[in-house]
């Protein structure tokens, strides 16, 4: 069969056929449910609806996670059980030196992203060229990591003082008569530089989420606040922010998790050199370079566990959300 002919077929199948089937299946399930008495019907309905989403998640995420938990107690080739040795290894210094970087990421990345995204979402909302501004901010998200790394390597490129600077930042510094900075090499500065790349790449998502939340804040409520004498700051802090709190939490959570498992940027830009290493990069290294499944699994499990506090905060929020 002609390959190019396959593509439209696949798209039709996946984007129309399967959704239709999903809907049909729900309908069928509902029809079966409606035969049941009301009590069981109410009890079973959520599971009917959650069947597909949860099933898929179970297959794609839960199953591998379980396998991973198991392998985390096995040796490098996942052939024999070795108890908690992998965890001892993980906490024995091999990884401790990268945790500092992850903490830097955890503290700075979510906050910077959130603050910048809030500013962007709020201010874009006030200008008529919002679609354009939005597009530009989302654009980096559309650029692949590999290409993003190339751009930013150029931006950060460094030549010793005295020679012409090819890197944008250093060229700007040069214009102001300042010495060049080895952005990607000087410890801490380089992690900050990487964090900034991540902010640049990912802020689009945050702006998108916050923007749609802000647009959903009741206009009348804001008008009432205006009449009550609230200025723009007040309106933001007393009206908009409390009402978009769920979305802020979504962004914060997403970004914290992104910081926890940050990998691509570090991998493609420095591969952890110059003291920029992070946990997930270690995971990648153990998995594909050192080929040690046990170590890699232990790191993954530690990552999963460290996300639990974030998840718990979200549960508290969830409970307030669903309260009638």
């Amino acid at each position: 069969m002609d390959i190019t002919g396959l593509v439209p077929l696949l798209i039709v199948l996946g984007a129309i056929g399967i959704p239709f089937l999903v809907y049909l299946a729900l309908g069928l399930g509902e029809a079966v449910l409606s035969l049941c008495p009301p009590g069981p019907q109410r009890a079973m309905r959520p599971w009917l609806w959650l069947l597909l989403p949860l099933g898929l998640v179970a297959l794609i995420l839960i199953y591998p996670v379980i396998v991973t938990v198991a392998t985390s107690f096995q040796d490098a080739r996942a052939e024999s059980w070795i108890g908690a040795a992998n965890y001892r290894w993980a906490f024995s210094g091999a990884m401790l030196d990268v945790i500092g970087n992850n903490i830097l990421w955890l503290v700075i990345f979510p906050v910077v992203t959130l603050v910048l995204a809030l500013i962007a979402a709020v201010l874009f909302d006030k200008v008529s060229y919002e679609p354009l501004a939005m597009t530009i901010v989302i654009l980096p998200t559309a650029i692949s990591f590999t290409a993003g790394a190339v751009i930013w390597t150029q931006m950060y490129s460094f030549q010793p003082a005295g020679s012409p600077q090819l890197g944008t930042f250093n060229a700007v510094l040069q214009v102001f008569g300042l010495g060049p900075v080895p952005w990607l090499i000087q410890p801490v500065v380089n992690t900050l530089a990487l964090i900034f790349v991540a902010v640049w790449l990912q802020i689009g998502i945050a702006v998108l989420i916050l923007s749609s939340a802000i647009k959903n804040v009741g206009t009348e409520m804001i008008e009432a606040a205006r009449l009550d004498g609230a200025g723009e700051w007040r309106i933001f802090f007393s009206m908009i922010l409390p009402n978009i709190l769920p979305s802020v939490l979504v962004v914060l959570t997403t970004m914290i998790i992104a910081a926890l498992k940050v990998f691509d940027i570090v991998y493609v830009m420095t591969n952890g050199n110059f003291g920029t290493d992070v946990i997930a990069n270690r995971l990648y290294y153990e998995l594909f370079a050192a080929n040690n499944l046990g170590h890699a699994s232990a790191i993954a499990v530690i990552l999963l566990i460290s996300a639990l506090p974030v998840a718990l905060i979200n549960i508290i929020q969830f409970r307030t959300e669903v309260r009638p």
């Binding site: 998200t141 190339v150 995971l283 999963l304 996300a307």
Partner: protein, 303 residues
């Protein structure tokens, strides 16, 4: 292009878009300029790297090698060579097809299943829903790398490896927790009365889902759509791994990543290729922005 004009030909009410327009024009003069200034600065800052990319993709290799991209502004010397090379090397025709065949169904399915999941989670009361929410958030942190081997094994077992639907399955499953997580709050903010009203009108659960939840979640679905599409479009590892043995050409970003490693022709073609590969998502972002409407719930309930 004013927002109001774009939204709809119907004049919209104070509770809808006109109010917004009013918001936009009012305010003290200097404050307005400050807003514009900050927005422009922001946009500019975000645009500089992209501009660098664009200019670099247009400059001849010799120029790029000798001077920074900004020199293209005072000393414009442009060439389309990079684009011709890139066009050729990305094998645009075939790869574009594969990319679309992966990203479009993935996006649609992520949206659909996320709304379904979020709706059930928020609007139905049952034991275990807190646990499920907790699980979904916790799963957000799963490093994709650790899922690869177990799933590959599973896929081999059931014969999914090397197929495009296998990739949909993976990407949808992997993005779903985020989708549900994202939509949850939005669906919770739809006034309860609308569901009740629909119920009294005789709507079944499914009908409510189709006629109330789907249309009213439009803005956030559009956001999720953009994200899901971009992630799927830019995904490298999964298609590479799960398409092994497929007769389809590799997706466009796989080819793009390959350009980074090649040792001839400099980076011009890579820059150009990046631009080409961004075109489709760009069109998507632009077209979905139409759904970012303000006050979609305006006029629904009093109080």
């Amino acid at each position: 292009m004013s927002k109001t004009a774009r939204q709809s030909a119907v004049p919209l009410s104070s509770h809808g878009f006109i109010g917004l327009a009013a918001d936009r024009v009012r305010g003290r003069g200097h404050l307005r300029w400050l807003v514009h200034a900050v927005v422009l600065l922001f946009v500019l800052f975000w645009f500089v790297p992209i501009l660098a990319l664009l200019l670099s993709s247009l400059r001849p290799q010799a120029e790029t090698a000798a001077s920074g991209w900004w020199m293209a502004l005072p000393r414009p010397a442009f060439t389309a060579t990079n684009y011709m090379l890139a066009f050729d090397q990305l094998r645009v025709a075939g790869s574009l097809g594969t990319s679309l065949a992966i990203a479009i169904p993935t996006t649609v399915l992520v949206i659909l299943l996320s709304v379904i999941g979020a709706y059930a989670l928020v609007r139905m009361n049952f034991a275990g829903r807190t646990a499920i929410s907790l699980l979904l958030v916790a799963l957000l942190v799963t490093p994709p790398q650790i899922t690869l081997v177990p799933l590959l094994r599973l896929y081999n077992l059931v014969g999914l490896s090397g197929t495009i639907p296998g990739i949909w399955l993976y990407q949808v499953g992997f993005t779903l927790p985020f989708g549900v997580f994202l939509l949850r709050g939005f669906i919770a903010s739809i006034p309860q009365e609308l569901f009740e009203s629909a119920r009294l009108d005789g709507a079944s659960e499914l009908r409510i889902f189709r006629s109330i939840v789907l249309p009213l979640s439009r803005p956030i679905m559009a956001s999720l759509g953009i994200m899901a599409f971009l992630w799927s479009w830019n995904d490298l590892l999964i298609p590479l791994l799960f398409m092994g043995g497929s007769s389809l050409p590799p997706p466009i970003t796989v080819n793009l990543a390959g350009l980074v490693a090649q040792t001839t022709q400099g980076q011009g073609p890579l820059m150009a290729a990046t631009f080409l590969s961004v075109l489709v998502p760009l069109v998507l972002v632009l077209s979905l922005q139409r759904h970012f409407v303000r006050g979609i719930l305006g006029g629904a309930v009093k109080g």
